[in-house]
Symmetry: C2
Subunit: 353 residues, 2 copies
Amino acid sequence: MTSVKLAAGLVCPVPANAPDRVQLGHGSGGKLSAALLQERFLPGFGNPVLAALGDAAVMDVAGVELAISTDSFVVSPLEFPGGDIGSLSVHGTVNDLAMMGARPVGLSAGYILEEGLPFERLDRIIASMAAAARAVPVPIVTGDTKVVERGKADGLYINTTGLGVRLPGAAPAPDRAQAGDAILVSGPIGRHGMAIMAAREGMAFESSIESDSAALWPLVQPLLEQFGAEVHALRDPTRGGVASALNEIAAASEVGMVLEEGAIPIPGPVAAGCEMLGLDPLYVANEGVFLALLPRRLAVRALALLRSHPLGAGAAIIGRVVTTHPKFVILETGLGGTRIVDTLPGDQLPRIC
Amino acid sequence: MTSVKLAAGLVCPVPANAPDRVQLGHGSGGKLSAALLQERFLPGFGNPVLAALGDAAVMDVAGVELAISTDSFVVSPLEFPGGDIGSLSVHGTVNDLAMMGARPVGLSAGYILEEGLPFERLDRIIASMAAAARAVPVPIVTGDTKVVERGKADGLYINTTGLGVRLPGAAPAPDRAQAGDAILVSGPIGRHGMAIMAAREGMAFESSIESDSAALWPLVQPLLEQFGAEVHALRDPTRGGVASALNEIAAASEVGMVLEEGAIPIPGPVAAGCEMLGLDPLYVANEGVFLALLPRRLAVRALALLRSHPLGAGAAIIGRVVTTHPKFVILETGLGGTRIVDTLPGDQLPRIC
């Protein structure tokens, strides 16, 4: 039994399940994750670059505007329809760079291997990671391998850290959303999370769902080249899904958002799977989709640009940024009603990336 | 039972313990680690920057010579005399940059946390990591946190990836050692590995051994500023110790090396601990010591420079590079004998970093 000292000197017993320890929900990308970051990591590591909390850090190094992003991948299972931990570890990090407007120029790969991992499986994952990196293209320039005892790494974990060079004129940032912006999504949502869920639970949906895992830079680059700094914010809605990503932008920019439920592209099998499992697709993770916020007058042209690329064929305008209800994201339902789309406290689904 | 196809079409049964799976020894920094890299990772990821196999990759980005290094830390126990996984994760990565002649300009931190990790412990490690980074100084500019289920991360693992800018004129590389070079070590060896061993096994040596874990840039910088490209090679002898580091340089540079046993600084408690456990201090890991190879005529001046700094007070000239026996490291013992100092196949001690 632990205890907490109150101001008055009283000691309050805390039940065994109180948060004096890391819980699975701290990894969910929701409110618990945010609390972990705000209460523990930022006070310790605090500096202006880290505190900007973009998908990647942007720093000036000898006159070059570099972006750096790191991600550790612990996805379970290691292989799933549409990808595996190897390809995912490239896409996830490259996409974080892209969300800051940066062209990837190099990746590092840090492997933590579990004793007993079959080489056959490791070889498949290395090949998949290499193919994903070549497709971007981005070279894997440095690496590291550690081995831990049986049972201590669930097969393997991969950290990828990416280095990128920011496109001149690009300035997407979570705090630059403005009232009057349109909210675009580059494709149908919820596929990655549902593919993982299906693979993990051995579930068969009506039709199979593949992860959308993909490198987004080829789609982000023309958008930034055409609209430059008018692209106010970009975000790939991974852990916590579209709902969490938009809440983060709304909070950082101190704006409100309105989503039109009917405009949000949700594949039939994702909708059916979510229905069956009691999940909300707005909170399901994506790994090959991004949100873009830019002035309404540019929205139709931006939509056309996205749709002209295979990665953006399913793009849609799903909402708008407003001055009312700052920091809140509201969903207009088909029936004329509205509901608040909040950030989840913890998990819908742990270890999806 | 697995099997291996031979060229002639025969099938050779492989016993259950054959290396078709990852073994702990693959993480040791010895021959098994090298085989893992050469046979599995390099063929997949191969590119000239990665193939250079320096402690860090060096690449030209928009005209700036950048160094990038990544390391995942899985040390057990998490806290040990002289440091913890937090400070170690800063020192290890910053030192890899320093070994390529690069001043650290930014670090990323990727945490994999195990469900149930007490926040009290996490807070101590974050504080230690932050203090180590401030002391370099280098900012932690971006981070990531994942959580895995109880039992799947042994407390926590940390990946740090470092970005550095190469000092103008510096060009240390594993393949630049030359016959006629002197081999210097910046301080007494074996302390990190023995401190970990003592902490892990609860052993008490005559006097306590603290890890040497430290950031080496403050000592490397003046060396490179004074001797520039005449510093042919630098290496921090971590996993696999001094023996493995020198074997790597000897192989890459195709030179031979001769070490004088009596000149190698080994603290008394390290020698006693190694004696007791049947370990060879030449293979024990260091985290605050580096090897420098530069022309013999500069060796005495370089030694004086190292010794003038607290980090290098125990520096010594321990050997020389020769043309005879290329790719072999030979130890001259006090009794006039010699023995080959080979790379170990696997572990003396797993999970020391």
